[in-house]
Subunit: 182 residues, 2 copies
DNA sequence: CAACAGCGTTCAGTATTTACAACACTTCGA
DNA sequence: TCGAAGTGTTGTAAATACTGAACGCTGTTG
C-alpha cells in the first residue's frame, strides 16, 4: 500500500489543500507534501496528527490494505466444517479455506453441563448468535440471561462473557463473531 | 492508543523475545525496545517491518482503537428481531439496538419460489451462513450450488451472488455478513 | 498589466529515529 | 560455581523525518 498516494486521495476527496490540512493537523505544509510524494515515511505520531486533521482513524486509513486475493471453496457440506471444539463444547467453523476470514461463523453444541469456563472470556470485536434448540445461560458483564430456542444476542466481546448449559438437554447455537480470531 | 504497550502485548502473546522479533522483522532489538517503551514514535515503514515479523497487518494492529461505547440490549426474544424482509424473503435482524453494528446477523426464510432477483447482488465485505431446513440454490460468480440442510457457505460479497428457492418447501437460513450494511 | 492570494515543491538546518555495540541481569547446564 | 546463552536496556553515531523560509506557478481583482 502506498501511503502517500492514499493520503493524497483522501485529502482531495475532502476538498482540502496541503496547507489547509497542515493547519488543521498542526504540522507544516511541507510535511504533507513530502508524505504525499513518499519522500519520507512519516512517524506514527505525525501520521496520527495528520489524520486527526481530516479526521480519520489509523484503521480507516490502512483499511485499504484489505485487498483480498482469489477464489477458494464457497460451499461446505456439514462434514467439511472444521472442528475447533473446546472441552465439552462442540464448535464447527464455516469457511476454513477462506484466506483472511472476517467472520467466525460457528455451529455450536453445548451438551448438558457444558461451560466456557469460570474465568470470563474477553477479546476484541463483537459477537452475535441465535439459539436453535434447548436452553442456554449467557452471562455478559454483571448480567445473566436465559436463552430459549429462537432467542438471540448481540454484544461487544470486550465485555467479559460466559456461556453455560446447566439444563438437561443439549443446546444448539449458531454464532458469528468479528474479527475472526481463529 | 498506546503503540508501545500494544506491540509488547502482541509480541508476548506470540511468545517472542525482542531479539527474536527483531530478527524476523529485519530491525535491531534496540528498535523494538524503544518502540515498546514509547521512547520513540516509529516511522510507518519501520512499524510495517516490525509487524511483518509477527506477521500482522496495520489494520489489525490499530484495530484496538475500535473501542466501542456503552451498553445496550444484549438478548432479543424471537419477536424482538427487526424485520427487514425484502419481497418474498423474510429476514430478521439480530441486534437492532446496537449502536455501530459490525455484523449483520439474519434469520432468513425463503418460501418456495423466493428469489433475491435476477440482477446479481454485489457489495463490499464477506458473507457466510448455514442452511437449517429445506434446500436452496446459491449462485456465486459463474458457479451454482445446491445447498441442503446442514450445508454452509462463505464468500466475498464483491462476487455477484443470488439466492433462490426453486423447490417446494421453505428454506431456513442463518446468515452473517460484515460490514453490516443496514 | 500589476498586485495579490492561493497552490504544491524544495532546500538548509534542526529534531527525531535507527543501527551497532556495549551493558547488567537471569537461567541453565557442566 | 562458573561459563554460555538468553533476556531487556542504553549510549553514540549515522540515517531519516520535520520545520521554517524560500521558490515558481496559477487564477483573481483592481
Amino acid at each position: 500500500m502506498d501511503v502517500g498516494e492514499r493520503l493524497q486521495a483522501i485529502r482531495k476527496l475532502k476538498g482540502l489543500s496541503q496547507r489547509e490540512l497542515a493547519k488543521r493537523a498542526g504540522v507544516t505544509n511541507s510535511t504533507i507534501s513530502m508524505i504525499e510524494k513518499n519522500s519520507v515515511s512519516p512517524s506514527i505520531s505525525s501520521l496520527r496528527k495528520v489524520l486527526g486533521g481530516i479526521p480519520m482513524s489509523m484503521v480507516e486509513f490502512f483499511s485499504e490494505e484489505l485487498q483480498q486475493e482469489n477464489p477458494t471453496q464457497i460451499v461446505y457440506k456439514a462434514h467439511e466444517l472444521i472442528d475447533i471444539s473446546d472441552g465439552a463444547v462442540t464448535m464447527k467453523l464455516v469457511g476454513k479455506a477462506h484466506p483472511s476470514r472476517a467472520i467466525a461463523f460457528l455451529n455450536e453444541i453445548y451438551p448438558p453441563g457444558a461451560d466456557t469456563g469460570e474465568e470470563m472470556l474477553t477479546h476484541d470485536g463483537e459477537e452475535t448468535g441465535i439459539l436453535l434448540e434447548g436452553k442456554l445461560e449467557l452471562v455478559v458483564g454483571l448480567e445473566t440471561f436465559i436463552l430459549e430456542a429462537g432467542d438471540s444476542y448481540y454484544f461487544e466481546s470486550t465485555k467479559p462473557h460466559r456461556f453455560r448449559n446447566p439444563y438437561d438437554e443439549p443446546a444448539r447455537l449458531i454464532s458469528a463473531a468479528t474479527p475472526a480470531n481463529f
